[in-house]
């Protein structure tokens, strides 16, 4: 497939083809169908697995599914307890959802780069980008949701006036109000942007490297793609973990009153 595409459109064409999403609509109202489809399927997979575990949950000897689900729960719970000292029914499930969803997004990266697009092209789908986290929309959707939650909890915990005071009078006191405001706004806005871009950048680059490896002669490919795939197992887990931990940290900062 790689060599055919290489022959047909050249290396650039192959890369661009792989990074073009399947979209419908015009302008802002464009929908990336592949991103929406795969993220929904992966979300469904996550929910189905954990729902199965939750339905069968007993305090007796756990089965394999429950064991794994509980391992994840304990892992997430310990992360939440490490940095968040309040009581919240949202943060731990949110962190679990983020970790699993992002991990599954990233995991799509480990499928051979041509496998799913080839199946898609057999079914008449021209473009298919299978890794949702290489779509800025997917990463920003999560980080902006987290951003809204940060604002929501800041106002809820500190009150509208308390939050406004924090924005205006910190860190340099009331005499430098405009400067404080600017600094705080940048700080708050940097949170969702850094969250989304970090994940996007890592996965986009990883995917790009897989595509570049796929352009090489077939005999060299395993020697490069195998170590890169193994390294990528670390990266995808790490990125999911970072997204989760930073979400927890940001939300616990929102809960803290200075």
């Amino acid at each position: 497939m790689a060599t055919e595409a290489h022959a047909a459109e050249g290396a650039t064409g192959y890369i661009v083809h792989h990074l073009t999403p399947l979209s419908v609509g015009e302008g802002f109202w464009t929908l990336h169908l592949d991103t929406l489809f795969f993220s929904a399927v992966l979300g469904g997979l996550f929910v189905w697995f954990f729902k199965t575990a939750a339905e069968r949950a007993t305090s007796d000897v756990p089965g394999l599914v429950q064991n794994f689900a509980e391992m994840m729960i304990e892992f997430v719970d310990s992360q939440v307890k490490d940095s968040f000292h309040g009581k919240s029914e949202l943060i731990a499930p949110l962190a679990l959802t983020i970790f699993c969803w992002v991990f599954l997004f990233n995991f799509m990266d480990l499928f051979p780069v041509d496998l799913l697009p080839m199946i898609g092209s057999m079914m008449g789908i021209e473009y298919l980008r299978v890794v949702p986290s290489t779509d800025l929309n997917a990463t920003f959707a999560m980080s902006i949701s987290v951003f809204f939650l940060i604002i929501f909890y800041s106002i809820k915990v500190k009150g509208p006036w308390g939050f406004a005071k924090e924005l205006m009078f910190q860190p340099f006191g009331p005499w430098l109000l405009p400067f404080n405001l600017l600094l705080k706004l940048v700080e708050e806005l940097a949170k969702p942007i850094s969250l989304a871009l970090r994940l996007f950048g890592n996965l986009y680059a990883g995917e790009l490297i897989f595509i570049l490896i796929a352009l090489l002669p077939w005999a060299i490919q395993p020697a490069l793609s195998f170590p890169w795939a193994i390294f990528h197992i670390l990266i995808i887990t790490l990125q999911a973990f970072i997204f989760m931990v930073l979400t927890i940290v940001y939300l616990s900062m929102a809960h803290e009153d200075h």
Partner: protein
């Protein structure tokens, strides 16, 4: 690379996932974890209690054993003492019986001695008479021998 309406769709999916996890996934799993934690803690406490009780029972058993040993030693001592007493008593009884038998035997011996003496006297006197008759038949000198006979008779009597 453009931000578009996909963002909104993704946010809706994300919100639904978080809501579902919060509502139906996290609480039952977390609860089962907590329940198991409690169960394990209870089990450990019970095990510890059982251990303590066992230690106590062991101590008690040792005490009971010690008491039993002491009691049995007492009983053995008592029995020994009693046996000694019985032996002493029977020794005394045997001694007394022996003495009694000795006395009886002595009495019988005395009696028999007396009898033998009596019969001897009778025999000797008859022998003497016999001898005298034979002497008399050989040589009779009444006057002379009367004197001797008297002497002999006197000696015997």
């Amino acid at each position: 690379m453009s931000i578009n309406a996909t963002l909104i769709g993704q946010m809706i999916t994300f919100a639904l996932l978080v809501w579902f996890t919060m509502k139906f996934v996290w609480p039952p799993l977390y609860q089962s974890l907590e329940e198991r934690k409690k169960k394990i803690a209870d089990g450990l406490a019970a095990a510890e209690k059982g251990q303590e009780e066992m230690d106590l029972a062991e101590k008690r058993a040792i005490n009971v054993l010690k008491e039993a040993k002491e009691k049995s030693a007492d009983i053995v001592n008592l029995a020994q003492k009693r046996a000694n007493e019985i032996v002493e008593e029977s020794k005394d009884a045997a001694k007394k019986e022996g003495e009694r038998l000795l006395v009886a035997a002595q009495a019988q011996i005395d009696q028999e001695l007396q009898q033998v003496k009596e019969s001897l006297r009778k025999e000797v006197s008859s022998l003497a008479l016999n001898a005298a008759e034979q002497i008399l038949s050989a040589e009779i000198d009444q006057a002379k021998h009367q004197e001797i006979l008297n002497k002999v008779s006197n000696q015997i009597g």
